[in-house]
């Protein structure tokens, strides 16, 4: 059976349809969920997509965390179900306290849309994926960063095409080149790069497939458990 993956649409979500398309392409059953809904329509996994939820006029993700649907997202996370936050979705997960750290304006100030590479900190794989954000600089207090490192919560770091860590390849000034983090349990993943825009070989590199494979296999595992 295909795992069912909910994609939440907040007012101002932009990449929700892209996430739905990517789930379908990668073999999942996508289902669209509205921010004001109380549940996740029976989904085994959930994606909080990119965009500018509620306009992001206060602070990115700061209002979205109060959306009714977020209770269901928290419940799924607490039950060990896979939760993926992409870009604005990552910001929302940080604001909601499901992931550590915060995201602030890029070091270079300007919005940047660019294909970059990230290194998967578990497998060492180098994944070509695009970023497109103005507030993607990952920050945390020194203690927080130590804890994130110590608990092996860093999921992805910005890197050179051959996987080397170098500030020249850090597009936004993120602390320790962090592009994505997981929670300690490993079932909640947030990342600034957009894996949903890197799954279709007709459009470019497919570094994002890896992330969806993780999401779908975790969802399958949760279903059979």
């Amino acid at each position: 059976m295909k795992p069912r993956v909910a994609v939440v649409t907040f007012p101002g979500s932009n990449d929700d349809r892209d996430a739905l398309r990517a789930v379908r392409l990668m073999g999942g059953e996508p289902v669209s969920v509205w921010h004001a809904d109380q549940g996740l329509a029976g989904a085994d996994a959930v994606i909080l997509p990119g965009g500018f939820s509620y306009g992001d006029y206060l602070r990115t993700g700061a209002i979205a965390r109060f959306a009714p649907v977020m209770d269901a997202v928290r419940e799924l996370a607490a039950a060990g179900g896979p939760v993926l936050g992409i870009c604005n979705g990552f910001q929302i997960l940080c604001e909601a306290g499901l992931l550590p750290g915060a995201l602030i304006r890029n070091r270079g100030v300007a919005f940047v849309c660019r294909w970059i590479n990230v290194r998967d900190e578990r497998s060492g794989d180098v994944l070509p994926v695009p970023i497109k954000h103005g507030e993607g600089q990952f920050v945390g207090s020194p203690d927080e960063l130590e804890r994130i490192e110590g608990d092996r919560m860093v999921a992805f770091r910005y890197c050179s095409p051959d996987g080397a860590l170098d500030d020249a390849f850090n597009p936004n000034g993120s602390a320790r080149g962090i592009a994505g983090v997981r929670n300690r349990r490993g079932n909640v993943l947030g990342m600034m790069p957009h894996p949903e825009h890197a799954v279709d070989p007709d459009l470019g590199p497919t570094g994002g497939q890896h992330v969806f494979e993780w999401l779908l296999s975790s969802a399958r595992a949760a279903v059979s458990a």
Binding site: N14, V112, C113, K132, H194
Partner: protein, 739 residues
């Protein structure tokens, strides 16, 4: 004794004659709100009063054209039940006054034009012109415009996939900010030919109405900007992209559910324009109740509510029994939806405010019967002198290599990554090829077909010969689209000129329209609409005549897309087309010789069409490894760009000819492309070129880390990249932006 006060109609930029016409139409003197409505609708911006007589000559019909000029946007039938809606518009005047908001609201406006046809906005392109970047104010304008486009486009989730940026001194005081939007709609959801009926309710959807943007069309867009332009800042609207995003989603849902009879955007002239056009289109009158219009502040005067250009509003034309459903959908998206009027018998537009009728005017006269001028045109006297000064015979002052580096690094030619990395080019998942290419390519959902889009204009050519220059703009845009393997289908345009009351400007305008029309007719690409922006001059200096063409093409299978980058080592490189000694108006002449003079290159439209046909066939047969059209900087720049994009060098020998090497390298002769053949396909390419009557010359091979022009000079690929990619960032980094 005090001087007599200026009559109000003059303050609103209406002439005495226009005022007399209004009096005759009404059979009485107009009151203040009525005068404000006429001033807005009969402004140059809304009424096209100086340009209509010329625009009518453009070819505008064809088998694929579903909607031509005169509606919110043109519509082209792509087949299989899919239509493409597209349009270009100018927001130069507001951007000159406040670059960030001016450009941002320009994006918002063009997106609502496409939305008004029931289409989902799917791509944006931005043709921009500024003064040279060594000037702090030009940097401020450039940075502000790019940031404004980025902030708005990124926030509403419409990818910005292309455009062009050029620099010339005359654009310093007159920056040009054009925005093009492309959208798609299922043919059966297209909102056209359904103008509403007697009793239809007018529902104002979206933002509330404030005092921003009052007089935008008559004061800002239809007059020249003077030294005190910054005092016009209150006339610039402020954008709220989040509201726009909700408006897009809500309107598409309304259209999907079949709840709309019609949809009208509120842009220039605000509510006055939307209501009078809705009524006129239906052949009816309208009642409008200003008290029902949600207002941002108390005490707004009727003329303010009527002509406010507050952003992020749409007017839905709805059956009475669908009003509740419309309000429900809008509520879900957090938008207000207020019935503000209805379509009624007769042709009058009656406006009520606090129970009183405050204006009563014929809707059709307001919307469609504005003045129409045959303004005098006169060929400028300086033209012959400038044209006679042909730079083609002038030897280079320095080495060929120096000239190459100067041209490759000139801001016009240099890579624009600094600009387009600030734009989200990927959202919506349709971008097969984004910025920095000959043409952007957007696929149709669930299909192998894609549209190719390009924007082009060449100010120098149009300065030297507006007729030929505008024809070149069409040819180059079509060539760009053909270079990716698409068939050019249709055109939108934005015609940016100076003060039409000056005969020289009017002559250039008429010539440009004539050239554009002939080229569009010859290439089979009708003009589906566009926008005219006059009065782009300040302190007596006008911009170059700047007709910008937006070309739409169709690609049968996007997997056969041709890219400009050299894809592999050891591929044979060919030049397609004939090179003539044509450096008039060229990049080399301006950058190296300091001359904007001579005649632009000749253009033979049959030769041009033959090249397009050849490229189309090459794409279908998958014969080419790469394909790049030639334009600014000629062969030298095209070879360098293909090398830089592919990350590999080449060695190339110029074809045998009588031309001096710098002429061969930098001539901007039209109808040419640089291609590589796939391995083993070179004979096939040669015979196809012969069949289509396109001259072809083998130049050399791809590969290596050097750009090698045999017998002339070498340049390291890394140096070429540094020059090409580094120019704009270097000019923009660490420099103070003037405010």
């Amino acid at each position: 004794m005090q001087p007599p006060a200026e009559p109000m109609h003059r303050a609103l930029a209406l002439t005495d004659d226009e005022y007399d016409t209004i009096v005759a139409l009404l059979g009485r003197e107009p009151n203040a709100p009525e005068l404000a409505m006429f001033a807005a609708m009969w402004s140059e911006h809304c009424s096209y009063k100086s340009s209509k007589v010329h625009l009518r000559t453009l070819p505008s019909s064809g088998p694929r054209i579903l909607v031509g000029p005169g509606e919110d946007a043109g519509v082209v039938d792509l087949g299989d039940g899919v239509t493409c809606v597209f349009k270009m518009e100018s927001h130069s005047h507001p951007s000159a006054v406040e670059p960030f908001q001016g450009a941002a609201t320009g994006v918002g406006g063009i997106v609502r034009d496409v939305l008004a046809m029931g289409a989902r906005p799917a791509a944006l392109l931005d043709p921009l012109r500024f003064g040279p970047l060594d000037d702090a104010r030009n940097r401020y304008l450039f940075a502000g415009v790019v940031a404004g486009i980025g902030q708005y486009g990124n926030s509403i989730g419409v990818p910005t996939v292309g455009g062009e940026v050029k620099f010339a001194s005359c654009h310093g005081p007159n920056p040009t900010v054009n925005v093009m939007c492309v959208g798609f709609a299922p043919a059966d959801r297209l909102l056209r030919g359904r103008p509403g009926r007697l009793g239809s309710v007018l529902v104002l959807v979206g933002a509330s109405t404030g005092r921003d943007g009052i007089g935008g069309v008559s004061v800002l867009a239809s007059r020249t900007l003077d030294e005190d332009a910054h005092t016009s800042r209150p006339s610039v609207q402020i954008g709220d992209p989040f509201s726009e995003k909700l408006l897009i989603d809500a309107c598409l849902e309304l259209a999907d559910r079949g709840l709309l009879e019609g949809l009208q955007d509120l842009g220039g002239a605000g509510l006055t324009c939307a209501v009078s056009e809705s009524a006129a289109r239906a052949g009816l009158g309208a009642e409008l109740d200003l008290d029902a219009v949600p207002q941002r502040e108390p005490g707004m005067e009727p003329f303010e509510i009527l002509t406010s250009e507050s952003q992020e509003r749409m007017l839905a034309v709805v059956r009475p029994d669908a009003v509740d459903a419309v309000r429900g959908v809008c509520r879900r998206w957090g938008l207000s939806a207020s019935p503000v009027g209805s379509l009624v018998e007769g042709g009058g537009l009656r406006v009520r405010h606090r129970g009183d009728v405050v204006a009563e005017v014929p809707a059709a006269a307001l919307a469609n019967e504005g003045p129409e001028y045959h303004r005098p045109a006169e060929r400028p006297r300086w033209l012959d002198r400038v044209r006679e000064d042909d730079p083609t015979g002038t030897p280079l002052p320095g080495s060929l290599e120096d000239a190459f580096v100067a041209v490759l690094g000139s801001p016009n030619v240099a890579g624009k990554r600094w600009v387009w990395e600030q734009y989200d080019s990927l959202v919506q998942g349709g971008t097969v090829q984004g910025p920095g290419a000959d043409a952007a390519v957007i696929r149709l959902e669930g299909s192998l077909r894609a549209v190719a889009v390009s924007c082009d204009g060449n100010g120098r050519y149009c300065h030297l010969d507006p007729y030929l220059g505008a024809a070149h703009a069409v040819a180059e845009a079509a060539r760009n689209v053909a270079a990716v393997g698409a068939r050019p289908l249709a055109v939108t345009n934005c015609l940016n000129f100076g003060n039409p009351e000056r005969p020289e400007v009017m002559w250039a305008f008429a010539e440009a329209v004539r050239g554009m029309g002939e080229a569009c007719a010859a290439l089979g690409t009708p003009v589906t609409g566009g926008n005219v922006s006059f009065y782009n001059e300040s302190g007596g200096s006008a911009l170059y005549p700047t007709p910008v063409v937006g070309m739409l093409g169709l690609l049968d299978d996007y997997r056969l897309l041709m890219r400009s980058a050299f894809p592999a080592l050891g591929l044979p490189i060919y030049l397609l087309g004939r090179t003539l000694p044509e450096l008039g108006g060229s990049e080399l002449a301006e950058v190296v010789l300091g001359k904007v003079s001579g005649r632009p290159p000749a253009l033979d439209l049959e030769t041009e069409a033959n090249l397009h046909q050849l490229l189309y066939e090459c794409s279908r047969q998958d014969v080419l490894g790469s394909c790049h059209d030639l334009s600014d900087g000629g062969l030298a720049v095209a070879l360098a760009e293909s090398a830089i994009a592919g990350g590999m060098g080449f060695h190339a020998a110029l074809p045998a000819s009588d031309l001096p090497p710098w002429v061969s390298l930098f001539s901007e002769s039209a109808s040419r492309a640089v291609v590589t053949a796939r391995l083993g396909r070179d004979r096939e390419l040669e015979s196809m070129a012969a069949f289509h009557g396109v001259p072809l010359a083998r130049l050399g091979l791809t590969g290596g880390r050097t750009l090698r022009f045999e017998g002339l000079f070498d340049l390291d690929l890394s140096d070429a990249i540094a020059v090409h990619e580094g120019t704009i960032p270097k000019l923009m980094s660490g420099r103070r932006l003037a405010g």
